[in-house]
Symmetry: C2
Subunit: 385 residues, 2 copies
């Protein structure tokens, strides 16, 4: 197996893990392109280490005067249009999309239209615009490999099984650091506390989303689009050890679960090597040592995002895009110490009171809903300041 890959979001957490997997499997991969939002220095470092000939950067200004950091002959792709061009590079067979937020939407659509196998880590893209992304993937006969550990788990559980036989998807959630907090204690959660995740080591935004369980709410939407399962057939169960990454219950009562240590390199490697598997001399779970796997139901009064997202899914509108945009704004406000932890979900709920029914007519309509939602959420946040 040999794969030519472009990595969008190469400087972020997922990008770094992706490069770790590739570093130990050089004979299987060639990194033909990398891209990031702003971090030119790190891009240059990666370009040198992996001899990457094509480099993209979203923020035009970040790049000014820094091309000398790269080897002569490097091709540069700048701005959104540049990234779209990079995504269609003829020498690439696969694109890993791990840019934060929905910045990667257009390059993702370009990669799909360019018939590249898509390793999709940016859940925001599916949450906001899943309908259109999946439609395009079907039309272009492009396979989407889910990088998110839960969705990668489901993907693995479904191997060799017809989608017809799915009864329910069961997403597991670590429950984050506050699963045992009282509602009262949650009022006073500091930014520092929220950024200390008990199991997973991730970026700031997603760590807060994990603490509020907004992350799990978004994953329900992501699963709905990826696996074409009605959202009322997607359950969430708390599993603090984060060893069972998700499960599929089939119509015959059989449940298939995927497990591995809570480390993103496992699902990333799964996508990179699919349909093969990495030959890894690393340990996995020792069940006798592990001893116990725990499960319990999530408390949606303590984690309102989980209840709010059900409203959005029922609305069958742009509400999920609104949810995500409002949440992004609210988390940003929280990280900047301008609102309380519990106000994150309040901002999302209030924004949705206005935009729950936004019709999902096109990719453009999603983007417009996002813009309106962000602006409204900012206004609501101001009232809390």
């Amino acid at each position: 197996m040999f794969r030519h890959i472009i990595i969008f979001g190469a400087t972020g957490s997922i990008g770094t893990s992706t490069l770790n997997v590739i570093r130990r499997n050089r004979h299987h991969f060639s990194v033909v392109g990398i891209a990031a939002n702003t971090n030119v220095e790190k891009l240059a470092q990666i370009a040198h280490e992996f001899s990457v000939p094509n480099v993209g950067i979203f923020d035009k200004h970040a790049f000014t005067g820094k091309d000398s950091l790269f080897k002569r002959g490097t091709h540069f792709f700048v701005g959104e249009d540049g990234l779209c061009e990079l995504a269609q590079l003829s020498e690439a067979t696969a694109v890993s999309m791990a840019m934060a937020g929905i910045a990667g939407l257009k390059p993702t659509m370009a990669a799909i239209e360019g018939k590249k196998t898509l390793l999709l880590a940016s859940k925001e893209i599916l949450v906001a615009t899943g309908k259109f992304v999946m439609e395009s993937a079907r039309t272009n006969d492009v396979q989407i490999l889910p990088v998110d550990s839960e969705h990668n788990a489901i993907f693995q559980c479904l191997l060799g099984n017809g989608n017809d036989f799915i009864d329910r998807l069961i997403l597991t959630a670590s429950g984050g650091p506050f699963r045992n907090f009282s509602r009262q204690e949650m009022e006073n959660i500091s930014v520092e506390q929220a950024l200390r995740h008990p199991v997973w080591n991730m970026g700031k935004k997603i760590t807060v989303d994990s603490a509020t369980m907004a992350n799990k709410a978004l994953e329900i939407v992501e699963a709905k689009w990826l696996f074409d399962v009605p959202s009322d057939h997607i359950d969430v169960v708390i599993h603090p050890e984060s060893i069972v990454h998700s499960m599929v219950k089939f119509c015959d009562g059989s449940i298939i679960a995927q497990m591995c240590p809570p480390n993103m390199e496992y699902p990333i490697a799964n996508c990179l090597f699919f349909p093969e598997r990495e030959r890894l001399a690393k340990p996995s779970i020792n069940f006798a040592e592990q001893g116990r796997l725990n499960f319990f139901a999530p408390d949606t009064t303590k984690f309102p995002h989980l209840a709010i997202i059900r409203r959005c899914l029922e609305a069958d509108s742009n509400a999920c895009a609104v949810f995500q945009a409002a949440n992004e704004v609210a988390v940003d406000e929280f990280l900047n110490h301008r609102i309380k932890f519990t106000q994150i979900s309040e901002i999302v709920a209030k924004t949705l009171d206005i935009y729950l029914g936004e019709p999902m007519t096109s990719l453009k309509s999603c983007e417009e809903s996002v813009i309106k939602a962000r602006s409204t959420a900012k206004g609501i946040a101001k009232e809390f300041n």
Copy 2:
């Protein structure tokens, strides 16, 4: 999907469960033949309920004067030769083999040669003669679907995955009723105690085998043959809830597990419907209610069968057939109150001291080893009486 099936061992525990699944799915199955060892009355009952035209019985005498129990026009197949003929019935597409012990060996081979899909529940057949059964299945391009819950679990975990990528198989074991007994307490286990299994409802022989963990030892051998995995890559872990029925660890560190309630109808239905799945309105596991799954390492000093079988597997001889034959004799002695619970494994070990190196040259050599082992085991048991 419509399947024409013959059920060997129709009157036993697995046969009864198989018929339960078929009863609720009449439009998918036609039972074209049934067979049993001796229980003519029950066979007649089943023949009536399922309008079965072909009936086999192993014990010629059991049948004498009882053909009036059956509808006129029923075809009878008597003795081992009769059962072999039944197994090749042209109108059948699948054969379910669930006769106790290795009585079903010749009909199994006949079914394979007759190109019938084989639903295999009789683990003894694989333990004693797995090499030859699997060789014949490959030659005849016949699929063997494992009915045993652990092997069916592994079968499901492997769907869509190449065998090349298997690292280890992890067989789970309930640990039986005595997993928390001290070695001392085990000396005095009564037949009654041994027949009270905490989770599974099964026949007597297999319930005792579950209590001694001989059953799990046999399953290691069964897994080795079914999945072509070296036995030192097959682990056993105690899992008292019997919800995770077994797991596969792949070379990339991913572990896939299959779960369902501890009820044989689930794996049986899986085999009956494969590659489809039964559409069952039955509940499965509710993880939030279940709360906890426990795992720990088996204690091979308390359950010596688990250590003894490793010796047999390393010997690469007829030792597994000897193990099984000696164990069968010993369990019978125990059930007849002639030896102690802990003497079951002693008889097996002592028989193996003599026959560990019996060469595995042919199906016939297996059968001969079994006969010698049974006779020797009986002799050893006498010394304990």
